[in-house]
Symmetry: C2
């Protein structure tokens, strides 16, 4: 069975009972699993992690909008995190037995449903983007909810689906498809923040490093060490092991050792199998050789 992950971000992070109610409604959709719910009061925002096949997500996402629109009014919303809508972002992520193209198709279908049924304007982003300047979420969200009406009056910011003006209380929404994101940190056996910053700069795409790495150097004050904090946005093309080896190599330049690395939250199995395959030099390996995968075929 196909498994698609979906990580909707909604603009409510304080009334946890309201968020729990929405999660519960999603959990009742046949075939859908609610894996995680994280609310942040400062951001006034919640991140839901759900998973299922295309059919269950086609049912769940419009329901998510209905429920959220009943309880969230962006005109009254305050929080530190930038946001454009009550349901702010909805990425579909291919996990198993499903292609990125199918996730893009799903994003378009769901976008169409949301635009027509809920009257919320929809922008497609990342792999589902209809034009290059809409690939990047931050670019679409610039000006936030408060600047939305002015922005939508420009022809180039006509939405992909739904009305040509903001929904009064729910603003607009961003729906799309992307690869799973891995939050990956490497801690160095030093307190030299300049070294962490130099290495972050060497490995991240924006300053000349690896294509699918975002990185910054920071101090872990309480431990007296520094960290390269990273997001790996496409582990198939920029694998975890290559990032690790490059950081280790750069650190050696400064006479610094890697102390440890850490995976924050979830990681696709394939990203770890890749590492085992690389370091053990395994030829002709197939994920079907993993006993647990065979059991679930």
């Amino acid at each position: 069975m196909a498994v698609i992950e979906c990580v909707p971000n909604i603009s409510e992070g304080r009334r946890t009972e309201v968020v729990a109610g929405i999660a519960e409604a999603l959990g009742a959709v046949p075939g859908l699993r609610v894996l995680d719910v994280q609310s942040d009061a400062t951001h006034n925002r919640s991140v839901l992690t759900i998973a299922g096949d295309a059919a269950s997500l086609r049912a769940a996402i419009p329901l998510l909008f209905e429920r959220t629109l009943e309880v969230v009014d962006l005109r009254l919303h305050r929080g530190e995190h930038p946001r454009l809508g009550a349901v702010d972002v909805v990425p579909f992520i291919p996990i198993e037995g499903v292609t990125m193209a199918e996730c893009v198709a799903l994003a378009r279908e769901v976008g169409d449903l949301v635009g027509r049924r809920l009257g919320v304007p929809v922008y497609l982003y990342e792999d589902a983007a209809s034009r290059p300047e809409r690939k990047n979420l931050e670019n679409i969200r610039r000006g936030e909810f408060e600047g939305l009406a002015a922005r939508m009056s420009q022809a180039e910011w006509a939405p992909d689906f739904g009305p040509a003006h903001p929904h009064p209380s729910a603003g607009a929404t961003v729906i799309g498809a992307r690869m799973p994101l891995i939050a990956y940190n490497i801690n160095l056996a030093t307190d030299r923040l300049d070294v962490a910053k130099k290495i972050a700069s060497a490995v991240r795409m924006s300053s000349g490093g690896l294509r699918f790495v975002k990185a910054m150097g920071l101090a872990l004050e309480d431990r007296g060490i520094v960290q390269i904090s990273m997001n790996l946005t496409n582990f198939e093309k920029t694998p975890v092991f290559r990032v690790f080896e490059l950081v280790k190599r750069e650190a050696a330049r400064y006479g610094v050792n890697v102390l440890e690395s850490e995976i924050v939250g979830l990681i696709p199995q394939a990203a770890l199998l890749q590492a085992a395959e690389y370091y053990l030099q395994i030829e002709g390996f197939s994920p079907n050789q993993v006993l647990e995968n065979k059991l679930r075929e």
Copy 2:
């Protein structure tokens, strides 16, 4: 849900329709999965790989004996592989959500059922063994079916369950619990068989090496290279990565590089996650962070 793997070996490898019939009967047991069936005509022996929870295996194994006893008569059986019975060996292997102790308990329960219902004497082996000299399968099987009556007349070879004399057509059987076995080979970038043999000798337990490694050096004539062919009998205590690193280190002593390694057949996910965790120096990692595992919780 608990997953126990079971790999019964039966003494029939030529009449494939007979083996297929037995596999089909097992496949009909609720909760049981037939993962693989391999028949060898020279050995006149088949290896079935099945999996399920304790309840499904408690139902399946007596059924396996019934069906096999109907069609296999060891008095007429010829084949190259040593064997003691029609159903020769039945190991239970803990895979997920189940302990070795539970697999040992299951082996005893099933052994009792088989002894009473089918009248086949049962020897418990490996982790389920009732005395040290019964741990090793080869030790129990010495003398084979043909020598069984004489052997069972000795007090120290009284079976753990069932009658004190061989079943006329089905002999005896060996039931037990063991860790999953990993068939793991490392190929060297050389044709020097002496190097492969020396390394095999250095890493295997029997000549002073790692506790849970069986190894031999052999030539891959067609490729002009040599191989360390290994069985890893407890990857939790002797992990794959440590075996690989030790072989690589020993090879360096002879100026030889590791060309590649290969996993033959199935490998538990944990054995590969171990390797990723080791090489990437991941601190505080939990298998629950693997997205696919989370999905199946």
